[in-house]
C-alpha cells in the first residue's frame, strides 16, 4: 500500500452505469454507508452524511463535498474536513469504474491521511504487512489483534 492511501478493488456483475448510480446517488449511498446522505451529485456541491445511534437516537453529521462527477467513470468526494465550513485538509474518496466483459471493476481510493497528520497510513502499512507488522513486534497482543481483524 502506498503510504497515505487506502486502495480497494472489487468486481461487480453490473454495468458501469448501474454501479455509478449506486456509488454517486445519496438514496443508494445511505444503503451502503451512513444512515442518511444528503447531497446533489454535482461537482462542488456541499453535502452531509448522518449517522444515528440506534440506542440513544443521537445523530452525528459529517460534512461532505462532491469533487468530481464523470458518469459512468468517476465519482469523488471529500469528507472528514479538519476545519469548519468544509475547510482544511480532508480525506478524498474516489471511485474509478472500468467496464469489464461481464460487469464493472471498481477501484476505491481514499487519500489524504498523511496530510491530516494522522499517519494512519504508516500504521496500516505496518499492520497489514505481517513480516514487519505489529504481530511480529507484539507477540503478546498478536492474538488480540487477530480477533479484532476477524470481527466484521
Amino acid at each position: 500500500m502506498e503510504q497515505g492511501t487506502i486502495e480497494r478493488d472489487i468486481h461487480v456483475d453490473a454495468s458501469p452505469e448501474v454501479v455509478f448510480e449506486v456509488v454517486s446517488q445519496p438514496e443508494h449511498m445511505r444503503e451502503w454507508w451512513p444512515d442518511d446522505a444528503r447531497f446533489e451529485s454535482v461537482a462542488g456541491a456541499p453535502g452531509e452524511l448522518v449517522w444515528r445511534n440506534a440506542d440513544t437516537g443521537e445523530t452525528t453529521t459529517v460534512a461532505l463535498a462532491v469533487v468530481e462527477v464523470d458518469p459512468p467513470k468517476r465519482f469523488s468526494f471529500r469528507w472528514c474536513f479538519t476545519e469548519p465550513d468544509r475547510g482544511g485538509p480532508a480525506l478524498l474518496v474516489t471511485f474509478d469504474l472500468t467496464p469489464t466483459g461481464t460487469g464493472t471493476q471498481i477501484r476505491m481510493t481514499e487519500t489524504g491521511f498523511r496530510e491530516m497528520g494522522w499517519e494512519i497510513a504508516v500504521l496500516e502499512a505496518q499492520y497489514q504487512d505481517h513480516e514487519n507488522g505489529w504481530d511480529h513486534y507484539m507477540p503478546r497482543l498478536g492474538g488480540y489483534v487477530a480477533r479484532l481483524v476477524a470481527t466484521p
Binding site: I6, H11, A14, E21, W33, T60, I120, M138, L141
Partner: protein, 116 residues
C-alpha cells in the same frame, strides 16, 4: 457507524520512535526513560518527551517505584487504537461489498423487467 478518529491517539502512535518504545515495553515489560534510552538511538530527554505523549493519550501508565517512573503499556487503549486502525480499512471492504450487492440486484431486476 461513524469513522470519527481520535487524532491525538493517532499522532501519538504514528511516530516510529514511540511505536518502537511501545514494542519494547510490550516485549520487555515495564521500563523507565533510562532503560528505554539505552535501547534507542535517542537521548533520555527525548525518550521522556515521547513517554509524556504516550502517557497523555493513555497508551502507557506510570508507576513511581524508587527514583524513576516505571511505564507500562495500557493494552486496552492500544487495542482500541489498533481497532480504529483496522476499521479504516475493513469498513471500506464492507461498504464495497454492499455496493456490489446493491448494484447486482439492480442489474438483475433490470434484466428481469426487460425479459417480461
Amino acid at each position: 457507524m461513524s469513522t470519527a478518529v481520535d487524532d491525538e491517539l493517532w499522532s501519538a502512535i504514528g511516530d516510529p520512535t514511540r511505536r518502537t518504545m511501545i514494542d519494547l515495553l510490550l516485549s520487555d515489560g515495564p521500563g523507565t526513560a533510562t532503560s528505554l534510552s539505552r535501547r534507542l538511538p535517542v537521548t533520555r530527554q527525548a525518550v521522556s518527551k515521547h513517554l509524556a505523549v504516550l502517557d497523555r493519550v493513555g497508551l502507557i501508565h506510570a508507576e513511581s517505584a524508587g527514583r524513576e517512573r516505571h511505564y507500562q503499556v495500557d493494552e486496552a487503549q492500544l487495542a482500541r487504537a489498533v481497532a480504529q486502525l483496522s476499521a479504516v480499512g475493513s469498513t471500506w471492504d464492507a461498504r464495497l461489498r454492499r455496493i456490489k450487492r446493491i448494484a447486482e440486484a439492480i442489474e438483475r431486476n433490470r434484466h428481469h423487467d426487460e425479459g417480461e
